[in-house]
Subunit: 345 residues, 2 copies
């Protein structure tokens, strides 16, 4: 996604220095060789230079803006590596998505990052986060894409938005930083649930004995739609519990991003789980893909344990998320569909 | 949909008398012959009898419940034909979806129906409406389906829900009758918009000259997701303007039903429009399919004209719906994507 974001930045005339982590050595080599990231298969426009990690300090020198797109697992490493190199007051943006449970509250990845940055720099930073539905392979091909840049500092969000928007990269802004970031993380988790429902349906279809002509191959859009809507309802309440606004879930950042994510890797993991694989088997089939949804589910599990204990939430709340917790703990996928939308009530 | 709803009713042990309109002569004949509706291709369980319209009065005699599933264009006819036969106080449910602009306000189809029913009966009725994501071909195959039965009378909604729910037909209830009904109608209109966006993307892809390997055939999920989210945002505000609750849009009845409807006929009409056909050409290609979304768009056009004149809404609001109005007035599809989510703001 970091590479794809270079497309609008380059189209806007920025010089871009793209630095890979130790996980990106081959990608940086390929970009240097022919300007194409192997995971995207499409060239960036001219104007970028590509750097291995050992060139980080040189690449950061004189940077007017810095954007960070490491995986969530690497955010503390990134704070240690990049933090000391940040010019005070530099406009700083995050593509990294995720939530961490620390000190009895949920923290977004930018907050975790900032905690690891030297204090004299930290106090000068107004972090911006990029949220909303964006498949990298579409953005780099200049397919129309709408995103929300969010910050607690409206001016910081507008500054990054103005620097990045193009005719095809439609940037909106939001001051609901916590809500946008929580939603961006949660959609990965819930897309696993959406995938599980789809996989369960496929397995049922395969196992069925045909009672009549036409009974095979019928879609399960009714169940997909209900699972999607239940995910939105649960996301909205979880976002409110983190201190964000439910309305953020009900637009581009929530509904839109969950929809795009049903086409992405976390949903594919869910489909494998629903088809009957164990968690270990399913993760193995994903061949090392970053599965940030799993980490977010575990984080929400810690939060729910605290909220349940404090009476803020109850066992009947969040049936889909609670089942995702069971699955990440090793149980086989078996979504409690009857509990959706408050149960029979 | 009326035929599909018989499946859970029959599975619950009800005797069902299914009466067709003058449009359903062939379907009723087929159901009598082999128990299969030609549009569904799957048999109903035993326990139903099938009746042509001239048997309506006999079929209604002694009915303990009545459900009406005519198309929205037939709702006034239905009131005239069925209204005088309704036993006072009979539990009455509507599958018919749509909105009408009458006397400077939006009316739901059950309200239009009731206006045509003799007064002595009307005052005894507590109409219930069936809303939410339900593809008929899936329901009749007993695929898991979640719906919301809504009524201003909570007891009436619960009564119908209890009569109809099965292990696979998951019925929830809502007292937001106006919101549920407005949402059910609007989702057909907005699914045309979703289809137009998809058709425009396909046409662009076809016309493009390949600038690099891999540039063909890439999906446009980012644009789909944004169009879907914009539809939800516009639906929520329109539902509030009709006197319903936005929260109804943000769950099963809105998000869920719009998602299911992207697979259905109104979205297919939109795709044809987006591919470059005129409205007349696109409607012709749909070969007589019921396209209730078009009627809803025209109804909302009349409402928006009044709301704009009264200052409740402004020209910058509802860019997607306003474009749908232009398309139904004969303009070629060209969604104003830049105006989504409030524009650059």
């Amino acid at each position: 996604m970091g590479t794809a974001l270079c497309a609008p930045l380059l189209d806007r005339g920025h010089q871009v220095r793209l630095v890979g982590t130790h996980l990106d050595v081959a990608a940086i080599e390929a970009l240097r060789r022919d300007g194409i990231h192997p995971g995207l298969g499409y060239p960036l426009p001219a104007g970028a230079t590509y750097h291995q990690l050992d060139e980080l300090a040189g690449a950061m020198a004189g940077a007017e803006r810095v954007a960070i797109g490491v995986s969530s697992a690497g955010i503390e490493w990134a704070a240690a590596a990049i933090g000391p190199l940040l010019p005070p007051g530099v406009p700083l943006a995050f593509i990294t998505k995720g939530l961490e449970w620390m000190g009895e509250r949920l923290l977004t990845e930018p907050e975790v990052f900032l905690a690891g940055v030297p204090e004299r720099v930290r106090s000068t930073l107004r972090p911006v986060a990029v949220t909303g539905p964006c498949i990298a392979g579409e953005l780099i091909r200049r397919n129309d894409t709408w995103v929300t840049f969010t910050s607690r500092d409206a001016e910081a969000a507008r500054g990054w938005a103005e620097a990045a928007r193009t005719a095809y990269y439609h940037v909106r802004t939001s001051d609901d930083f916590t809500g946008c970031e929580a939603t961006a993380a949660l959609k990965n988790a819930f897309s696993i649930g959406w995938g599980i429902a789809a996989g369960l349906a496929e397995r049922r279809g395969d196992a069925a004995t045909a009672p009549a002509p036409g009974s095979f191959g019928v879609a399960t859009h009714n169940q997909e739609a209900a699972t999607f809507a239940e995910a939105i309802v649960e996301m909205a309440r979880l976002v409110e519990l983190t201190g964000g606004r439910a309305e953020t879930v009900f637009g581009l950042v929530g509904v839109g991003d969950l929809l795009v994510t049903t086409h992405a890797r976390n949903a594919r993991l869910g489909r494998l789980l629903g088809s009957g694989l164990s968690l270990d088997q399913a993760v193995k089939r994903m061949e090392g893909a970053t599965l940030e949804g799993l980490a977010t589910i575990r984080t929400i599990g810690r939060a729910l344990a605290a909220w349940d204990a404090g009476g803020r939430t109850g066992a009947a709340d969040f049936p889909l998320m609670r089942h995702l917790l069971e699955v990440t703990a090793g149980e086989r996928a078996a979504i409690p569909f009857e509990a959706f939308f408050g149960g029979r009530g």
